[in-house]
């Protein structure tokens, strides 16, 4: 280090060097700190923006994507755009908005093939395995099917109809005599292409594609679903199934499947006041 006594020219120069270096480190450090904070903000992809098929998880994607726009160029439907600085997506990275233009799910997935870095995973060769997001019928209050009508548009446009979206019949409690056909999205099949969100006839779509992390719940790892465990084991794991005994009037029985209390059929016609010939 520095010598004893008066500072030599060499030591003065050394001091100056250290001082300059410190100044530089502070200035650049400040700028880098600001950029780091900005980068942290930019890592959060807004829920409305979807990445192309095969995109790595958002954290990895922003390290792997070199912002070249090859996927944008090779998308035959011109769905993808590169984020501009004013967009709430990391500058230069590709995204699409389902309500604007949804993914057409090309079988040869040209966007993935175009990616030079593997930010869009080249191991994705079956477009039905893509997971761009997950459709969620998020607004039960305005969905026409939930209101008891037969809109079904999201179900009809789904490229994986009856796999990614099914219609589940339910009793309509408002009328008491109709059926509601509830669109239900199945996460094991939905690719998040966004066709349903685009097609929803409402002013604002009741079904929306969200990032899977936002849309999905997760059951505790220690949870065991009794009926599944029972199926797997072939028998009840806790205690042998005992048939439930009811104290019912003669001629009645209880059906678990949904009808509940039922009167045995042969006796129907013998009851007083029963219409003749009724079964």
């Amino acid at each position: 280090m520095s010598e004893q006594g008066k500072p030599s020219p060499a030591s003065t120069a050394r001091r100056q060097f250290v001082l300059d270096a410190a100044k530089m480190a502070c200035g650049v450090g400040l700028a880098a700190g600001g950029l780091a904070l900005y980068a942290k903000q930019a890592k959060a992809l807004p829920p409305g923006a979807l990445r192309p098929p095969g995109a790595l998880a958002e954290g990895d994607f922003q390290g792997a994507c070199i912002r070249c726009g090859m996927c944008v160029r090779d998308c035959p439907y011109r769905i993808l755009s590169l984020a501009r600085p004013e967009h709430p997506v990391a500058t230069g990275t590709p995204y699409f908005v389902a309500r604007g233009l949804p993914c057409e799910m090309c079988e040869d997935i040209p966007c993935v093939k175009a990616c030079p870095t593997g930010a869009l995973d080249h191991s994705l060769v079956d477009i039905t395995k893509a997971r761009m997001g997950l459709a969620v019928l998020i607004d039960h209050e305005s969905c026409l099917n939930w209101l008891g009508m037969r809109c079904d548009v999201c179900y009809r446009v789904c490229p994986l109809i009856d796999k990614a979206i099914t219609l589940e019949p339910q009793r309509n409690p408002r009328t008491g005599k109709h059926t509601m056909f509830i669109p239900v999205v199945h996460s094991d099949a939905c690719t998040g292409c966004g066709k349903c969100e685009k097609a929803c006839v409402l002013e604002v779509s009741a079904i929306k594609v969200l990032p899977a992390a936002l849309a999905k719940g997760e059951i505790g790892a220690h949870y065991r679903l009794g009926w599944k465990e029972k199926d797997r084991a072939g028998e009840s794991l806790v205690a042998p199934d005992a048939e439930h005994k009811f104290n019912l009037p003669e001629g009645y029985r209880y059906e678990y499947g949904g009808r509940g209390l039922v009167r045995d059929e042969p006796e129907l016609s013998t009851l007083p006041g029963a219409p003749k010939g009724a079964k």
Binding site: D20, M24, A25, G27, V28, G29, A31, A32, L35, A36, Y38, A39, K40, A42, K43, L56, G59, D60, Q62, G63, A64, C65, I66, R67, C68, G69, M70, V72, R73, D74, S81, L82, R84, P85, E86, H87, A90, T91, G92, A114, P116, T117, G118, A119, H122
Partner: protein, 306 residues
Amino acid sequence: MAAVKRPGAEAQAVKGWLGSHRWLVARRFSQLSILAMFLLGPLAGVWIVKGNLNFSYTLGVLPLADPYVLLQSALTGHAPEGKALVGAAIVLAFYFLVGGRVYCSWVCPVNMVADLAHWLRRRLGITKSVRIARSVRYWLLGATLVLAGATGTIAWELVNPVSMFHRGLIFGIGAAWSVVFAVFLFDLVFADRGWCGHVCPVGAFYSVLALRSPVRVTAARRAHCNDCMDCYAVCPEMQVIKPALKGASRGAGPVILSPNCTNCGRCIDVCSKTVFRFGLRYDDREDAPSPAPAGGVARAAIADRA
């Protein structure tokens, strides 16, 4: 006003306009035609080149990737693959051979913005310039690499005016104009040659690549220098000239060895004594110190006058 001499005026008198602007014209042609090739696709539907300066694919055969971006990507923990790796290797080899910062002066679109700011500076007589150490860029280069590793994203690409401008011109510029304009204002008002010559870490990366580049400018006829200072006036990295041009007494060779030299060739243009030419870094020979007869009548006449 007469006292303010336009750099290169003397060279123009000797060599004619074209002779004194040859490399400048070649450079602008290079910059604009590269841009035009990228624009031909989106504007005219003729797809010669796809992509942008970060990665491009030419005629479906030639991948080119920016090794600096790819290095940052690798530092985030993503192993580069396929076309990007091949493209980066080609780019590394090419710029190593021709001088890394050829990227800055012959390709980068921001260079035209910076040159415009510098030109306007001189026309408006703006002489005040904030002193910024030229080493800032290397610190920033280091910082961007550290940031990539620390944040797991290519953080620099969020603000990089170079890729923002080029990408913007091809894919739609949006608010990236403001970033480019900021660079312009920075160069015009704050610091002469501020961005490209002091701050830009992209240029710093290509400087590092140029440390041993064979193609260099050499002051082969430095004995003929008449100290007009025109080369210093036009050089975007003027500190690189002196060691070669005035190093004869210290035994230094005539080749400009500094990796900061962008091989733009402007010094060759503006020298009325034809001191500079392109050469190889190993070629330390000085051209014959006598008036060069090969230079033609006009040049010989000027040499005599000197």
